[in-house]
Amino acid sequence: MAKETTIQGSAREAELSHLFKEVRDRPSGFRRAARMLRKNRIGIIGALVLLLVAGAAIFAPIIAPHDPDAADITSRLTCPAFTSCPRYGTSETIEGSTNHLLGTDNLGRDILSRLIYGARVSLIVGITAVVLGAAAGSSLGLISGFYGGIADSLIMRVGDIFLAFPYLLLAIAIVAVLGGGLLNVIIVLAIAGWVPYARLVRGSILSAREQEYVTAARAIGVRDSVLLAKHMLPNVLTPIIVYGTFAVAATIIAEAGLSFLGLGVGTKIPTWGNMLSDGRAYISTAWWLATIPGLAIMVTVLSINLIGDWLRDALDPQLRNIE
């Protein structure tokens, strides 16, 4: 009997030791994600394109060939290099110039330079609004899920009211009150987008609340704030990061949409939405004015979505079906 117990004991030890090694050697979430990125070529393309756009935005003053606001009426509506178009107001055909690789607008401003500066607005608004919305929504979701009761009901019902307004409508309604401008647009898009994070975090916290590690932490007297910040929040970060990535793409489109409607950051700052809106009036004579900024939005959004897909697959395969 004693021998049998010893055999069983050593088998258990071997099993535990094997398990321990497996857990120790298992790559961490981010290492696994990095390994999966190397395998995912489309994800790499997305990341490279986004790096390029971000690099252009950061180093805009260095790489932009012209001042984005410098008007030159003599070279107005020049078509992109290597293409030809009728000279404005005449039937004479002119060639594009390499001095303005992507052509000029109706005031003779360089499209490429405005595009590079426009990337700044898109990325700043997209990322800042999402970070603010995610921070506010996650905090409210934490409170809602952890404390429950009146706080939970209140936050969730207010969330229901926000969800009754489609995203763009809510943004437009708030812009109508606050007015346009860079800061207001960021605030508006953050306010319009906080609810999904609150719901996501609340759901995760509700299930985490029942876990043994939470009971154990409470039993040894860990304070609520420490428990929430150190133990529970890290467990809900993955879905927030994945959702947030897709939200950056949606926010970039929303910002461009607001600018397109004349309710965005204002006409003084070059943005992709403004450029598109201005180009609309010249759609029959200068195709590049509306085409190029739209392509820039699409390529940027596409690259972020590709990164989102990769992050979702790498960090949380269970989320694959939540599209």
Binding site: A164, P166, E323
Partner: protein
């Protein structure tokens, strides 16, 4: 099921109340409407008289309850831009155009995405699947205001096949705005249909259906599709709300003259009673559609219906 429907009805009423309250807050944050109505040159006496006439001298809570009462009856005061006309009348006059556009976009989106999503799932990993997924990826990334302009450039300006803008009860006028509005939802729904179908394909009852020798078509249409359709109904409902909001931009591009265009024009003209009425109508429609979808959902799913 009756309890569930009652609870959803009460929830929807609460949300409608919230929408009206939000609209009231918007009104109060936009400043004194009297300044907008009378302009800078009017005398203090005129301003005070109009404030008293409109009840703006009353305490805020009195104004709130009066606003609530009026809003329930659909009264959002007269338009500042179109004097003499009720804001709600103006909005309701344009509303059928928006609904027609959103409805056409929804039909296009549902028909295409369910067909494409199902084909992609059946041919998983093949060329068709990859093509459909690539299209969906681009569809989700393309901003609808740009797509609309590009469609005008190609089909109206270059080929001259379709009108570039305007609203008339003719299919020609509907094609470009409908495609513009439908594409984003179509892409999302295609991906969802595909992933829903793939999930169902791995279920035991599908394996059983195949094992007993049913043809592929019966398996897909008779068993897999029905089960995929249930969660899709919810998404389609939510999408209709997004289409109503998306119509704001589409109407602007195609000069459609619906509620969306009215809303943007009214914001630019600071005609806030019309802004309130338009925001209320779009949000209330969204709530109502979601309520209908939820009830439909319980009816479609026997597990909920019988519980």
């Amino acid at each position: 099921m009756a309890t569930y429907i009652t609870r959803r009805l009460l929830q929807s009423l609460f949300v409608i109340w919230g929408v009206i309250t939000a609209v009231f807050i918007i009104t109060n944050l936009t400043g004194d409407p009297v300044d907008l109505m009378l302009g800078e040159t009017s005398s203090q006496e005129d301003i005070e008289r109009l404030r008293a006439d409109l009840g703006l001298d009353d305490p805020l809570y009195v104004q709130y309850f009066r606003f609530l009462g009026d809003a329930v009856q659909g009264d959002f005061q007269e338009s500042l831009r179109f004097g003499g006309f009720s804001s709600m009348e103006i909005v309701l006059d344009r509303y059928p155009r928006t609904i027609a556009l959103a409805g056409c976009a929804l039909i296009l989106s549902v028909v295409f995405s369910i067909t494409l999503g199902t084909i992609a799932a059946v041919r998983r990993g093949g060329l068709i699947d990859q093509g459909v997924m690539l299209l969906a990826l681009f569809g989700q990334a393309v901003p609808n205001f740009w797509l609309g302009i590009m469609l005008i450039l190609v089909f109206a300006v270059n080929f001259g096949w379709l009108p570039s803008s305007g609203y008339e009860l003719s299919w020609k006028y509907f094609i470009l705005p409908t495609i513009t509005l439908a594409v984003a939802g179509m892409a999302r729904l295609t991906r969802l249909t595909r992933s829903g179908m793939l999930d169902v394909f791995s279920a035991d009852y599908i394996r059983t259906a195949r094992a007993k020798g049913l043809e592929d078509r019966s398996v897909v249409m008779g068993h897999a599709f029905k089960n995929t359709a249930i969660p899709l109904v919810t998404v389609i409902g939510l999408d209709f709300g997004n289409l109503l909001a998306g119509a704001i931009i589409t109407e602007q591009i195609f000069v459609w003259n619906g509620v969306g265009q009215l809303l943007v024009d009214s914001i630019n003209a600071r005609d806030f009673p019309v802004v309130q009425a338009a925001v209320f109508i779009i949000a209330a429609s969204f709530v109502l559609i979601n309520l209908i979808v939820d009830i439909l959902y319980t009816w479609l799913d026997p597990r909920i219906r019988l519980s």
